[in-house]
Amino acid sequence: MSALTLQNVSYTYPGGTTPVVKSASCNFETGKIYAVVGPSGSGKSTLLSMLAGLDMPGEGDVVLGDENLKNLDLDKYRREGVSIIFQAFCLLPLLTVRENVSLPMEMQGIPESDARQRAAEALVKVGIEESKHKRFPSALSGGEQQRVAIARSLCSGAPVLLADEPTGNLDGENTRIVMEILRRLAHEEGRCVIVVTHDPEVADTADLVLRMKDGVLTAE
């Protein structure tokens, strides 16, 4: 079943002259894990941000199921429809590690105690031990912060999961753990997982690898 579809999507940054994404088309299905690879600056993060509803394409459409994103409440879509793991983690510095993870659930109306419980479990799953749950993000290493960001996405329950270099700061062991979790989310929970990566090992885990080069998206 189709989860997200890109239809001839092009994007130029405000003030920019050449498009960063050029007429990209692709169909992302539920229950599958995708890898987007390509050189730095080729437009991978930009593409992801359009899938995430952070920005609207200049041309073309992003379609969720059979609903064009243009017609949806993008705030609600970001809260409930999609979950993003950012290249730069994007944890809230004012909230503790566990609060960061439980926040999206609380925003969806899940009771605080349940949300905390699930947050704690997700954190342990990505290898953040209990003693670090009450720390603030600034007191964690880069890799740990990245895993907290991953835990946050795992918990959100959104049908689409977007990850921008989720393993960029992780060692081999943790990379394998995270990729196993993502694979299970796709294959067992039926979510659509799209991972941007430079890591060939990560790309190997994917069901389908897409290549981005100078803004052009092609399937391998």
Partner: protein, 384 residues
Amino acid sequence: MSWKGRYLCRLLTRVPVRSLLSLVLAALLAFAFGALTVLRGIYGEAYRNVDVRGVFYGGLPYTAAQKLEKSGLVRDPGYEYINRDCEIEYHGGTLYFVSHIRYLAQAEVDWLEGWDEAAFDSSDEQVCVMSAGSALMMGFSLGDPVRVEETGYTSALARELDKWQTDEDWNETLVVRDQRRPRMQLVGLIQSDEYDNTLYIPVTAWKHFYWISNQLTLDLAEYSLTDYHRAEEFREYAKEVLSHVQNIVKLELDTSYADRIYNIHRLIETLYPLTIGAALLLGGILPGLTVLHVSREISILRALGVKTGACTGLYVMAQILCAFVGLALGFLLVLLIQRPDPGTIVRLFGLYIAAHLAACAAGSGIFAWLCARKHVLAQLQSKE
């Protein structure tokens, strides 16, 4: 607690320096406003109450005094006339005619029913006040008419003697003289022998003294200027009025104190709106900059699906709370240090607090809104 409540608490407490700075700033601005308001009140009052008196010494003719009275430049005249050849046997030869009971130092006055100092000083009836001792010696009691002559006032006994006179012509003359002399009803008795040779007559009754001499000359005449800014005009006018007078009359008119009060008053009046404007500007811009400082947080919230309005609301609320506590502290400080009359300042402070909070809400709101509208991805690509 909802996540918004918790987030708000963290906004206020997680970076205490930031909250404290906002709070202290608001307190300082409120204090500056309060202090200046109090000062403005004090100097405004002082300026309104400033009483510049022009005093004439050396024998101002009563006719000239009346011209000055009618010039419109002065109000509240006060006169003193010293009759140095008083023939009344009970007095030492000098009788002081004084226009206002307020020139009486300390001594008590027994008033005829219906009279008091204010009624006397502003009365236009022919009344007088003398010392109880003089009245006793001359046989006057409260309510009696007192005949005032150029030589002083005629005792009750002398009056009886007048009546007793049998010589017709002499009597005729006396009657004529009598009719030209004012009769002043005695309405007050001063309970002090310090004033045995002083007669108080309200200023409006002085016109009945023409008979005392062709030109009654006042040993002292003083006026309050209706508008002290016209002091020079009054000086010129007085010079003109006195140009035909032979006596060397000296006018003492000092505006230096009033000028000083006026200058400070004017300075405060100029500074006041400027200070309020600057305070509101700071009270709006600094919270805005604080919000700008955390624009990345706002972008993260936006990426997680928090609406622009909700994001803005959180940051505005945090700034408003800091500002409110600060303003209250500043207000308290003013009350404690300057001890103004709370009645007058509370209303102004209410207005200021409302304006400051509005500025704070506007400043932080606009910046938070701008941040929330920023290109989220561009914000989030960077790690800092």
